[in-house]
Protein backbone atom coordinates (compact mmCIF):
# COMPACT_ATOMS: atom_id res chain seq x y z
CA UNK A 1 0.00 0.00 0.00
CA UNK A 2 1.19 3.50 -0.78
CA UNK A 3 -0.70 6.48 0.65
CA UNK A 4 0.34 8.87 -2.15
CA UNK A 5 -0.76 6.47 -4.89
CA UNK A 6 -4.05 6.06 -3.00
CA UNK A 7 -4.60 9.83 -2.80
CA UNK A 8 -3.85 10.39 -6.50
CA UNK A 9 -6.08 7.45 -7.47
CA UNK A 10 -8.96 8.59 -5.29
CA UNK A 11 -8.78 12.14 -6.62
CA UNK A 12 -8.62 11.11 -10.26
CA UNK A 13 -11.33 8.46 -9.81
CA UNK A 14 -13.77 10.74 -8.02
CA UNK A 15 -12.75 13.84 -9.96
CA UNK A 16 -14.30 12.54 -13.16
CA UNK A 17 -17.85 12.86 -14.41
CA UNK A 18 -18.44 9.19 -13.80
CA UNK A 19 -18.81 10.04 -10.10
CA UNK A 20 -22.32 11.09 -11.09
CA UNK A 21 -23.00 7.56 -12.30
CA UNK A 22 -21.54 6.24 -9.06
CA UNK A 23 -24.19 8.25 -7.23
CA UNK A 24 -27.10 7.54 -9.57
CA UNK A 25 -26.91 3.76 -9.30
CA UNK A 26 -27.25 3.48 -5.49
CA UNK A 27 -29.80 6.28 -5.47
CA UNK A 28 -31.93 4.30 -7.93
CA UNK A 29 -31.67 1.21 -5.71
CA UNK A 30 -32.63 3.17 -2.59
CA UNK A 31 -35.48 4.89 -4.45
CA UNK A 32 -36.97 1.60 -5.63
CA UNK A 33 -36.64 0.04 -2.18
CA UNK A 34 -38.34 3.03 -0.56
CA UNK A 35 -41.14 2.80 -3.13
CA UNK A 36 -41.59 -0.93 -2.39
CA UNK A 37 -41.75 -0.18 1.35
CA UNK A 38 -44.32 2.58 0.84
CA UNK A 39 -46.48 0.31 -1.37
CA UNK A 40 -46.18 -2.49 1.20
CA UNK A 41 -47.61 -0.13 3.82
CA UNK A 42 -50.66 0.38 1.60
CA UNK A 43 -51.27 -3.23 0.60
CA UNK A 44 -51.06 -6.27 2.91
CA UNK A 45 -50.37 -8.66 -0.01
CA UNK A 46 -47.31 -6.69 -1.04
CA UNK A 47 -46.16 -6.63 2.58
CA UNK A 48 -46.39 -10.43 2.80
CA UNK A 49 -44.46 -10.74 -0.46
CA UNK A 50 -41.83 -8.31 0.78
CA UNK A 51 -41.24 -10.34 3.91
CA UNK A 52 -40.87 -13.63 2.01
CA UNK A 53 -39.25 -13.51 -1.43
CA UNK A 54 -39.60 -9.93 -2.68
CA UNK A 55 -36.87 -8.37 -0.51
CA UNK A 56 -34.18 -11.00 -1.26
CA UNK A 57 -35.27 -11.09 -4.92
CA UNK A 58 -34.89 -7.35 -5.14
CA UNK A 59 -31.49 -7.27 -3.46
CA UNK A 60 -30.27 -10.12 -5.67
CA UNK A 61 -31.58 -8.70 -8.94
CA UNK A 62 -30.65 -5.06 -8.40
CA UNK A 63 -27.97 -5.22 -5.72
CA UNK A 64 -25.87 -8.27 -6.55
CA UNK A 65 -26.64 -8.66 -10.25
CA UNK A 66 -26.63 -5.02 -11.45
CA UNK A 67 -25.23 -2.57 -8.90
CA UNK A 68 -22.13 -4.50 -7.88
CA UNK A 69 -20.82 -5.45 -11.36
CA UNK A 70 -21.43 -1.94 -12.70
CA UNK A 71 -19.77 -0.26 -9.73
CA UNK A 72 -16.95 -2.80 -9.83
CA UNK A 73 -16.54 -1.99 -13.51
CA UNK A 74 -16.48 1.78 -12.98
CA UNK A 75 -14.21 1.65 -9.93
CA UNK A 76 -11.98 -1.24 -11.05
CA UNK A 77 -11.25 0.06 -14.56
CA UNK A 78 -11.44 3.71 -13.46
CA UNK A 79 -8.73 3.27 -10.83
CA UNK A 80 -6.06 2.57 -13.46
CA UNK A 81 -7.52 2.52 -17.01
CA UNK A 82 -7.64 6.27 -17.72
CA UNK A 83 -4.08 6.69 -16.41
CA UNK A 84 -2.86 3.99 -18.78
CA UNK A 85 -4.83 5.44 -21.70
CA UNK A 86 -3.61 8.99 -21.09
CA UNK A 87 -0.09 7.96 -20.21
CA UNK A 88 -0.11 9.67 -16.80
CA UNK A 89 0.61 6.27 -15.17
CA UNK A 90 4.23 7.01 -16.13
CA UNK A 91 4.48 9.29 -13.07
CA UNK A 92 3.81 6.27 -10.85
CA UNK A 93 5.87 3.81 -12.85
CA UNK A 94 8.98 6.04 -13.01
CA UNK A 95 9.37 5.79 -9.25
CA UNK A 96 11.22 3.37 -6.96
CA UNK A 97 7.94 1.59 -6.16
CA UNK A 98 6.95 -2.03 -6.56
CA UNK A 99 4.37 -2.40 -9.34
CA UNK A 100 2.50 -4.84 -7.11
CA UNK A 101 2.15 -2.16 -4.46
CA UNK A 102 0.69 0.20 -7.09
CA UNK A 103 -1.89 -2.42 -8.13
CA UNK A 104 -2.83 -3.39 -4.56
CA UNK A 105 -3.23 0.28 -3.59
CA UNK A 106 -5.46 0.95 -6.57
CA UNK A 107 -7.51 -2.15 -5.78
CA UNK A 108 -8.00 -0.99 -2.19
CA UNK A 109 -9.16 2.45 -3.40
CA UNK A 110 -11.57 0.82 -5.89
CA UNK A 111 -12.94 -1.45 -3.15
CA UNK A 112 -13.38 1.59 -0.90
CA UNK A 113 -15.43 3.31 -3.61
CA UNK A 114 -17.53 0.16 -4.11
CA UNK A 115 -18.14 -0.12 -0.36
CA UNK A 116 -19.32 3.49 -0.11
CA UNK A 117 -21.42 3.54 -3.28
CA UNK A 118 -22.47 -0.13 -3.39
CA UNK A 119 -22.20 -2.15 -0.20
CA UNK A 120 -23.54 0.54 2.12
CA UNK A 121 -26.55 1.31 -0.14
CA UNK A 122 -27.30 -2.44 -0.30
CA UNK A 123 -27.25 -2.58 3.51
CA UNK A 124 -29.45 0.51 3.78
CA UNK A 125 -31.81 -0.98 1.16
CA UNK A 126 -31.99 -4.16 3.23
CA UNK A 127 -32.96 -2.10 6.27
CA UNK A 128 -35.55 -0.13 4.29
CA UNK A 129 -37.08 -3.32 2.82
CA UNK A 130 -37.15 -5.38 6.02
CA UNK A 131 -37.35 -2.62 8.60
CA UNK A 132 -34.43 -4.04 10.62
CA UNK A 133 -30.73 -4.92 10.54
CA UNK A 134 -31.55 -8.62 10.40
CA UNK A 135 -29.84 -11.65 8.90
CA UNK A 136 -31.11 -10.76 5.43
CA UNK A 137 -29.47 -7.33 5.52
CA UNK A 138 -26.20 -8.70 6.87
CA UNK A 139 -26.18 -11.57 4.35
CA UNK A 140 -26.62 -9.26 1.37
CA UNK A 141 -24.11 -6.79 2.82
CA UNK A 142 -21.47 -9.52 3.07
CA UNK A 143 -22.40 -10.94 -0.35
CA UNK A 144 -22.22 -7.47 -1.96
CA UNK A 145 -18.79 -6.91 -0.40
CA UNK A 146 -17.52 -10.27 -1.69
CA UNK A 147 -18.86 -9.50 -5.17
CA UNK A 148 -17.47 -5.94 -5.11
CA UNK A 149 -13.97 -7.08 -4.18
CA UNK A 150 -13.87 -9.76 -6.89
CA UNK A 151 -15.36 -7.48 -9.58
CA UNK A 152 -12.86 -4.71 -8.75
CA UNK A 153 -9.91 -7.12 -9.00
CA UNK A 154 -11.13 -8.64 -12.29
CA UNK A 155 -11.93 -5.32 -13.93
CA UNK A 156 -8.70 -3.71 -12.73
CA UNK A 157 -6.79 -6.54 -14.38
CA UNK A 158 -8.88 -6.06 -17.51
CA UNK A 159 -7.93 -2.36 -17.59
CA UNK A 160 -4.23 -3.29 -17.38
CA UNK A 161 -4.62 -5.83 -20.19
CA UNK A 162 -6.85 -3.95 -22.62
CA UNK A 163 -7.78 -0.45 -23.69
CA UNK A 164 -11.31 -1.78 -24.24
CA UNK A 165 -11.74 -2.93 -20.66
CA UNK A 166 -15.07 -1.16 -20.11
CA UNK A 167 -16.68 -2.76 -23.17
CA UNK A 168 -15.32 -6.21 -22.37
CA UNK A 169 -16.40 -5.80 -18.74
CA UNK A 170 -19.91 -4.79 -19.78
CA UNK A 171 -20.13 -7.79 -22.11
CA UNK A 172 -19.04 -10.05 -19.26
CA UNK A 173 -21.43 -8.53 -16.70
CA UNK A 174 -24.48 -8.13 -18.92
CA UNK A 175 -24.15 -10.87 -21.54
CA UNK A 176 -22.30 -13.63 -19.73
CA UNK A 177 -23.57 -13.30 -16.19
CA UNK A 178 -27.12 -12.14 -16.87
CA UNK A 179 -28.04 -13.54 -20.29
CA UNK A 180 -25.89 -16.64 -20.85
CA UNK A 181 -25.95 -17.44 -17.12
CA UNK A 182 -29.75 -17.30 -17.19
CA UNK A 183 -30.06 -19.68 -20.15
CA UNK A 184 -27.10 -22.04 -19.81
CA UNK A 185 -26.94 -23.54 -16.30
CA UNK A 186 -23.24 -24.47 -16.64
CA UNK A 187 -22.26 -20.85 -17.29
CA UNK A 188 -23.55 -19.91 -13.84
CA UNK A 189 -20.69 -21.82 -12.23
CA UNK A 190 -18.29 -19.30 -13.79
CA UNK A 191 -19.94 -16.19 -12.49
CA UNK A 192 -18.88 -13.81 -9.72
CA UNK A 193 -22.57 -13.14 -9.17
CA UNK A 194 -23.29 -16.79 -8.30
CA UNK A 195 -20.18 -17.13 -6.14
CA UNK A 196 -21.23 -14.15 -4.05
CA UNK A 197 -24.81 -15.43 -3.94
CA UNK A 198 -23.36 -18.61 -2.41
CA UNK A 199 -21.93 -16.39 0.34
CA UNK A 200 -25.35 -14.77 0.84
CA UNK A 201 -26.96 -18.22 1.00
CA UNK A 202 -24.47 -19.39 3.61
CA UNK A 203 -25.06 -16.37 5.89
CA UNK A 204 -28.85 -16.79 5.55
CA UNK A 205 -28.49 -20.44 6.61
CA UNK A 206 -31.81 -22.28 6.91
CA UNK A 207 -33.78 -19.19 5.83
CA UNK A 208 -32.22 -19.26 2.35
CA UNK A 209 -34.66 -21.83 0.93
CA UNK A 210 -37.69 -19.99 2.34
CA UNK A 211 -36.41 -16.68 0.91
CA UNK A 212 -35.72 -18.24 -2.48
CA UNK A 213 -31.96 -17.63 -2.44
CA UNK A 214 -30.35 -20.51 -4.31
CA UNK A 215 -26.82 -20.12 -5.72
CA UNK A 216 -25.58 -22.26 -8.61
CA UNK A 217 -22.45 -23.23 -6.65
CA UNK A 218 -21.84 -24.38 -3.08
CA UNK A 219 -20.38 -22.04 -0.43
CA UNK A 220 -16.96 -23.73 -0.39
CA UNK A 221 -16.61 -23.61 -4.15
CA UNK A 222 -17.89 -20.03 -4.32
CA UNK A 223 -15.53 -18.79 -1.61
CA UNK A 224 -12.50 -20.54 -3.08
CA UNK A 225 -13.26 -19.17 -6.54
CA UNK A 226 -13.77 -15.64 -5.18
CA UNK A 227 -10.42 -15.74 -3.37
CA UNK A 228 -8.55 -17.37 -6.26
CA UNK A 229 -9.93 -14.90 -8.81
CA UNK A 230 -9.28 -11.85 -6.61
CA UNK A 231 -5.74 -12.83 -5.63
CA UNK A 232 -4.90 -14.23 -9.08
CA UNK A 233 -6.20 -11.16 -10.94
CA UNK A 234 -4.33 -8.79 -8.62
CA UNK A 235 -1.05 -10.69 -8.87
CA UNK A 236 -1.30 -10.93 -12.64
CA UNK A 237 -2.16 -7.22 -12.94
CA UNK A 238 1.00 -6.39 -10.94
CA UNK A 239 3.04 -8.64 -13.16
CA UNK A 240 1.65 -7.13 -16.35
CA UNK A 241 2.22 -3.62 -15.04
CA UNK A 242 5.94 -4.42 -14.86
CA UNK A 243 6.12 -4.76 -18.62
CA UNK A 244 3.30 -2.49 -19.75
CA UNK A 245 3.84 -0.59 -23.02
CA UNK A 246 3.30 3.10 -22.49
CA UNK A 247 2.64 4.11 -26.05
CA UNK A 248 1.30 2.42 -29.11
CA UNK A 249 3.76 4.07 -31.46
CA UNK A 250 6.81 2.11 -32.48
Amino acid sequence: MNATVATLTRRSLLGRKRTLVLLLLPLALLGLCTLARVLAGLDADIERELESSLAPGFLTAFGIAILMPLLGLIAGTGSIGPEIDEGSIVYLLAKPLSRYSIVVTKLVVAIGVVVVFGVLPVVVSGVVLTGAVGTLTVAFGVGALAAGVAYCAVFLLLAVLSRNAVVIGLIYALIWESLVGGIVPGAQALSVQQWSLAVVQRVLGDDAARLGVDAAVGFGTGLVLLVVVTVGATAYAGRRLQTIRLSEDA
Binding site: L8, S12, V90, Y91, P96, S98, R245
Partner: protein, 308 residues
Amino acid sequence: MSAVELEQVSRWFGNVVAVNDVTMRLGPGVTGLLGPNGAGKSTLINMMAGFLAPSAGTVTLDGRPLFRDPEIYRDVGLVPEREEMYDAVTGWDFVLANARLHKLADPATAARRAIGIVEMADAQERDIRTYSKGMKQRIKMATALVHDPSVLLLDEPFNGMDPRQRMHLMDLLHELGEEGRTVLFSSHILEEVEQIAGRIEVMVSGRHAASGDFREIRRLMTQRPHRYTIRSGDDRTLASAIIAEPSASGVELVADAAGGTVVQVQATDLSAFVHALPRLASQHGIRLLEVRPADESLESVFSYLVAR
Protein backbone atom coordinates in the same frame (compact mmCIF):
# COMPACT_ATOMS: atom_id res chain seq x y z
CA MET B 1 28.23 11.17 -12.65
CA SER B 2 26.22 8.53 -14.45
CA ALA B 3 26.45 7.01 -17.89
CA VAL B 4 23.76 5.32 -19.93
CA GLU B 5 25.11 2.78 -22.37
CA LEU B 6 23.36 1.14 -25.29
CA GLU B 7 25.17 -1.82 -26.77
CA GLN B 8 23.96 -3.15 -30.13
CA VAL B 9 20.38 -2.41 -29.16
CA SER B 10 17.49 -3.36 -31.40
CA ARG B 11 13.80 -3.26 -30.68
CA TRP B 12 11.08 -4.60 -32.89
CA PHE B 13 7.30 -4.65 -32.55
CA GLY B 14 6.00 -7.60 -34.55
CA ASN B 15 7.37 -7.10 -38.03
CA VAL B 16 8.29 -3.46 -37.50
CA VAL B 17 11.87 -2.69 -36.54
CA ALA B 18 11.74 0.51 -34.47
CA VAL B 19 15.39 0.59 -33.38
CA ASN B 20 18.08 -1.21 -35.33
CA ASP B 21 21.48 -2.11 -33.87
CA VAL B 22 22.19 1.11 -31.99
CA THR B 23 25.32 1.54 -29.89
CA MET B 24 25.84 4.78 -28.01
CA ARG B 25 27.11 6.04 -24.69
CA LEU B 26 25.61 9.03 -22.93
CA GLY B 27 27.85 10.70 -20.40
CA PRO B 28 27.60 13.90 -18.35
CA GLY B 29 26.51 16.97 -20.29
CA VAL B 30 23.65 17.63 -22.67
CA THR B 31 23.08 15.25 -25.56
CA GLY B 32 20.50 15.94 -28.25
CA LEU B 33 18.73 12.99 -29.85
CA LEU B 34 17.84 14.28 -33.29
CA GLY B 35 15.68 12.63 -35.91
CA PRO B 36 12.45 12.95 -37.85
CA ASN B 37 9.17 11.69 -36.44
CA GLY B 38 9.03 7.91 -36.40
CA ALA B 39 12.82 7.57 -36.32
CA GLY B 40 12.74 5.53 -33.12
CA LYS B 41 13.65 8.33 -30.68
CA SER B 42 10.77 7.63 -28.29
CA THR B 43 11.42 3.90 -28.39
CA LEU B 44 15.05 4.58 -27.53
CA ILE B 45 14.06 6.88 -24.63
CA ASN B 46 11.53 4.31 -23.39
CA MET B 47 14.31 1.72 -23.29
CA MET B 48 16.65 4.13 -21.48
CA ALA B 49 13.85 4.88 -19.02
CA GLY B 50 13.43 1.18 -18.26
CA PHE B 51 9.93 0.87 -19.71
CA LEU B 52 10.80 -1.28 -22.67
CA ALA B 53 13.12 -4.26 -22.95
CA PRO B 54 15.46 -4.30 -25.94
CA SER B 55 14.67 -7.17 -28.32
CA ALA B 56 18.43 -7.56 -28.69
CA GLY B 57 21.44 -5.92 -27.04
CA THR B 58 21.74 -4.25 -23.63
CA VAL B 59 20.73 -0.91 -22.12
CA THR B 60 22.49 -0.16 -18.85
CA LEU B 61 22.92 2.65 -16.34
CA ASP B 62 26.41 2.51 -14.84
CA GLY B 63 26.48 -1.17 -15.72
CA ARG B 64 23.00 -2.01 -14.29
CA PRO B 65 20.33 -3.21 -16.72
CA LEU B 66 17.52 -0.64 -16.78
CA PHE B 67 14.52 -2.82 -17.57
CA ARG B 68 12.22 -3.96 -14.74
CA ASP B 69 14.25 -2.37 -11.97
CA PRO B 70 12.26 0.34 -10.15
CA GLU B 71 15.36 1.25 -8.11
CA ILE B 72 16.91 2.95 -11.16
CA TYR B 73 14.36 5.76 -10.77
CA ARG B 74 16.32 7.04 -7.77
CA ASP B 75 18.91 8.15 -10.35
CA VAL B 76 16.75 8.77 -13.42
CA GLY B 77 14.29 11.59 -14.04
CA LEU B 78 11.90 11.36 -16.98
CA VAL B 79 9.93 14.05 -18.79
CA PRO B 80 7.49 12.16 -21.02
CA GLU B 81 6.28 13.56 -24.32
CA ARG B 82 2.61 13.17 -23.49
CA GLU B 83 1.02 16.08 -21.73
CA GLU B 84 -1.50 14.33 -19.49
CA MET B 85 -0.95 14.47 -15.77
CA TYR B 86 -3.29 14.23 -12.81
CA ASP B 87 -5.40 17.19 -13.88
CA ALA B 88 -7.59 17.34 -10.79
CA VAL B 89 -4.71 18.26 -8.47
CA THR B 90 -2.72 21.48 -8.12
CA GLY B 91 0.81 21.84 -9.46
CA TRP B 92 2.14 21.93 -5.89
CA ASP B 93 0.23 18.81 -4.84
CA PHE B 94 1.43 16.95 -7.90
CA VAL B 95 5.11 17.80 -7.48
CA LEU B 96 4.83 17.05 -3.75
CA ALA B 97 3.18 13.69 -4.56
CA ASN B 98 6.10 12.90 -6.87
CA ALA B 99 8.55 13.77 -4.08
CA ARG B 100 6.65 11.46 -1.72
CA LEU B 101 6.57 8.66 -4.30
CA HIS B 102 10.38 8.94 -4.37
CA LYS B 103 10.26 8.48 -0.57
CA LEU B 104 12.42 11.59 -0.06
CA ALA B 105 13.30 12.54 3.50
CA ASP B 106 11.87 16.06 3.17
CA PRO B 107 9.37 16.00 0.27
CA ALA B 108 8.04 19.54 0.85
CA THR B 109 11.50 21.13 0.62
CA ALA B 110 12.32 19.06 -2.48
CA ALA B 111 9.02 20.06 -4.13
CA ARG B 112 9.60 23.75 -3.33
CA ARG B 113 13.11 23.58 -4.79
CA ALA B 114 11.94 21.84 -7.99
CA ILE B 115 9.06 24.27 -8.51
CA GLY B 116 11.51 27.13 -7.93
CA ILE B 117 13.88 25.79 -10.60
CA VAL B 118 11.12 25.79 -13.22
CA GLU B 119 9.73 29.14 -11.97
CA MET B 120 6.23 27.90 -11.30
CA ALA B 121 5.85 29.10 -7.70
CA ASP B 122 3.29 31.75 -8.66
CA ALA B 123 0.96 29.23 -10.31
CA GLN B 124 1.58 26.27 -8.02
CA GLU B 125 -1.78 26.51 -6.23
CA ARG B 126 -3.80 26.26 -9.46
CA ASP B 127 -5.23 22.97 -10.74
CA ILE B 128 -3.09 21.45 -13.48
CA ARG B 129 -6.11 21.42 -15.79
CA THR B 130 -5.96 25.24 -15.90
CA TYR B 131 -2.31 25.34 -17.04
CA SER B 132 -1.12 26.27 -20.53
CA LYS B 133 0.92 23.78 -22.50
CA GLY B 134 4.17 25.50 -21.50
CA MET B 135 3.21 25.54 -17.82
CA LYS B 136 2.38 21.84 -17.93
CA GLN B 137 5.76 21.24 -19.51
CA ARG B 138 7.44 23.07 -16.64
CA ILE B 139 5.53 21.15 -13.98
CA LYS B 140 6.53 17.94 -15.78
CA MET B 141 10.14 19.18 -15.54
CA ALA B 142 9.69 19.81 -11.81
CA THR B 143 8.42 16.26 -11.23
CA ALA B 144 11.48 14.91 -13.04
CA LEU B 145 13.90 17.09 -11.05
CA VAL B 146 12.31 16.71 -7.62
CA HIS B 147 14.64 13.89 -6.54
CA ASP B 148 17.76 15.54 -7.96
CA PRO B 149 18.52 12.78 -10.50
CA SER B 150 21.91 12.26 -12.10
CA VAL B 151 20.28 11.27 -15.41
CA LEU B 152 17.51 13.30 -17.02
CA LEU B 153 15.63 12.02 -20.08
CA LEU B 154 13.30 14.38 -21.93
CA ASP B 155 11.09 13.33 -24.83
CA GLU B 156 10.41 16.28 -27.18
CA PRO B 157 10.48 18.82 -24.30
CA PHE B 158 10.18 21.91 -26.51
CA ASN B 159 6.92 20.91 -28.16
CA GLY B 160 4.25 23.54 -27.60
CA MET B 161 6.54 26.03 -25.85
CA ASP B 162 6.60 29.68 -26.75
CA PRO B 163 10.02 31.25 -27.55
CA ARG B 164 10.51 32.65 -24.03
CA GLN B 165 9.71 29.32 -22.37
CA ARG B 166 11.96 27.61 -24.89
CA MET B 167 14.87 29.89 -23.99
CA HIS B 168 14.28 29.29 -20.32
CA LEU B 169 14.24 25.52 -20.73
CA MET B 170 17.37 25.67 -22.90
CA ASP B 171 19.18 27.63 -20.18
CA LEU B 172 17.97 25.16 -17.57
CA LEU B 173 19.13 22.11 -19.53
CA HIS B 174 22.45 23.81 -20.14
CA GLU B 175 22.88 24.43 -16.39
CA LEU B 176 21.93 20.85 -15.55
CA GLY B 177 24.52 19.60 -18.02
CA GLU B 178 27.15 21.96 -16.60
CA GLU B 179 26.45 20.54 -13.14
CA GLY B 180 27.63 17.17 -14.44
CA ARG B 181 24.26 15.52 -15.00
CA THR B 182 23.65 13.28 -17.96
CA VAL B 183 20.89 15.05 -19.88
CA LEU B 184 19.33 13.61 -23.02
CA PHE B 185 16.54 15.29 -24.93
CA SER B 186 14.91 14.35 -28.21
CA SER B 187 13.88 16.73 -30.94
CA HIS B 188 13.23 16.76 -34.66
CA ILE B 189 14.55 20.31 -35.08
CA LEU B 190 18.28 20.75 -35.68
CA GLU B 191 18.35 24.41 -34.61
CA GLU B 192 16.82 23.45 -31.26
CA VAL B 193 19.38 20.75 -30.67
CA GLU B 194 22.49 22.60 -31.77
CA GLN B 195 21.87 25.53 -29.43
CA ILE B 196 22.32 23.50 -26.26
CA ALA B 197 23.55 20.01 -27.00
CA GLY B 198 27.28 19.51 -26.71
CA ARG B 199 26.79 16.25 -28.51
CA ILE B 200 24.21 15.15 -31.05
CA GLU B 201 23.08 11.64 -31.86
CA VAL B 202 21.09 11.40 -35.09
CA MET B 203 18.50 8.67 -35.55
CA VAL B 204 16.86 7.92 -38.91
CA SER B 205 14.47 5.04 -39.57
CA GLY B 206 15.55 3.28 -36.40
CA ARG B 207 19.24 3.51 -37.24
CA HIS B 208 21.97 5.52 -35.56
CA ALA B 209 22.83 7.71 -38.54
CA ALA B 210 25.41 10.10 -37.17
CA SER B 211 27.06 11.15 -33.97
CA GLY B 212 29.21 14.09 -32.99
CA ASP B 213 29.15 17.75 -32.02
CA PHE B 214 26.79 20.12 -33.77
CA ARG B 215 29.43 21.53 -36.13
CA GLU B 216 30.10 18.10 -37.50
CA ILE B 217 26.40 17.29 -37.92
CA ARG B 218 25.75 20.70 -39.50
CA ARG B 219 28.62 20.13 -41.95
CA LEU B 220 27.28 16.71 -42.89
CA MET B 221 23.88 18.19 -43.50
CA THR B 222 24.93 21.23 -45.53
CA GLN B 223 27.63 19.61 -47.64
CA ARG B 224 25.28 17.11 -49.20
CA PRO B 225 24.19 17.55 -52.85
CA HIS B 226 21.29 20.01 -53.12
CA ARG B 227 18.60 19.70 -55.75
CA TYR B 228 16.88 22.60 -57.47
CA THR B 229 13.97 22.79 -59.87
CA ILE B 230 14.28 25.77 -62.25
CA ARG B 231 11.76 27.18 -64.70
CA SER B 232 13.18 29.64 -67.25
CA GLY B 233 12.67 31.35 -70.62
CA ASP B 234 15.03 28.88 -72.34
CA ASP B 235 15.45 25.67 -70.37
CA ARG B 236 17.69 23.84 -72.87
CA THR B 237 20.27 26.67 -73.16
CA LEU B 238 20.24 27.14 -69.40
CA ALA B 239 20.78 23.39 -68.87
CA SER B 240 23.82 23.35 -71.14
CA ALA B 241 25.26 26.41 -69.38
CA ILE B 242 24.73 24.90 -65.93
CA ILE B 243 26.40 21.58 -66.75
CA ALA B 244 29.54 23.51 -67.75
CA GLU B 245 29.69 24.84 -64.15
CA PRO B 246 31.87 22.87 -61.71
CA SER B 247 29.39 23.52 -58.85
CA ALA B 248 26.73 21.37 -60.58
CA SER B 249 27.04 17.61 -60.92
CA GLY B 250 23.88 16.81 -62.87
CA VAL B 251 21.23 18.48 -65.02
CA GLU B 252 18.03 17.02 -66.35
CA LEU B 253 15.26 18.40 -68.56
CA VAL B 254 11.98 17.11 -67.23
CA ALA B 255 8.47 17.50 -68.59
CA ASP B 256 6.17 19.26 -66.15
CA ALA B 257 2.46 18.78 -65.61
CA ALA B 258 1.54 21.76 -67.81
CA GLY B 259 3.21 20.23 -70.89
CA GLY B 260 6.35 22.40 -70.71
CA THR B 261 9.74 21.55 -69.26
CA VAL B 262 11.69 22.31 -66.10
CA VAL B 263 15.40 21.99 -65.39
CA GLN B 264 16.38 19.83 -62.45
CA VAL B 265 19.86 20.49 -61.13
CA GLN B 266 21.98 18.66 -58.60
CA ALA B 267 24.48 21.07 -57.05
CA THR B 268 27.49 19.79 -55.15
CA ASP B 269 28.67 23.18 -53.93
CA LEU B 270 25.66 25.04 -52.65
CA SER B 271 27.12 28.52 -52.20
CA ALA B 272 29.03 28.47 -55.52
CA PHE B 273 25.92 27.35 -57.40
CA VAL B 274 23.59 30.02 -56.00
CA HIS B 275 26.09 32.65 -57.14
CA ALA B 276 26.66 31.05 -60.54
CA LEU B 277 23.01 30.68 -61.53
CA PRO B 278 22.06 34.39 -61.88
CA ARG B 279 25.38 35.07 -63.62
CA LEU B 280 24.73 32.32 -66.21
CA ALA B 281 21.17 33.52 -66.81
CA SER B 282 22.41 37.05 -67.34
CA GLN B 283 25.25 35.98 -69.69
CA HIS B 284 22.88 33.97 -71.91
CA GLY B 285 20.01 36.41 -71.70
CA ILE B 286 17.74 33.84 -70.11
CA ARG B 287 14.93 34.91 -67.88
CA LEU B 288 14.62 32.89 -64.65
CA LEU B 289 10.92 32.34 -63.88
CA GLU B 290 11.22 30.11 -60.83
CA VAL B 291 14.08 28.68 -58.75
CA ARG B 292 12.87 26.21 -56.17
CA PRO B 293 14.96 24.01 -53.88
CA ALA B 294 13.53 20.51 -54.14
CA ASP B 295 13.71 17.73 -51.65
CA GLU B 296 14.57 19.95 -48.69
CA SER B 297 12.46 18.19 -46.11
CA LEU B 298 14.18 17.18 -42.91
CA GLU B 299 13.49 13.57 -43.77
CA SER B 300 15.50 13.87 -46.99
CA VAL B 301 18.38 15.49 -45.13
CA PHE B 302 18.34 12.63 -42.64
CA SER B 303 18.02 10.07 -45.42
CA TYR B 304 21.15 11.47 -46.97
CA LEU B 305 23.01 10.98 -43.70
CA VAL B 306 21.88 7.38 -43.56
CA ALA B 307 22.93 6.70 -47.14
CA ARG B 308 26.46 7.90 -46.47
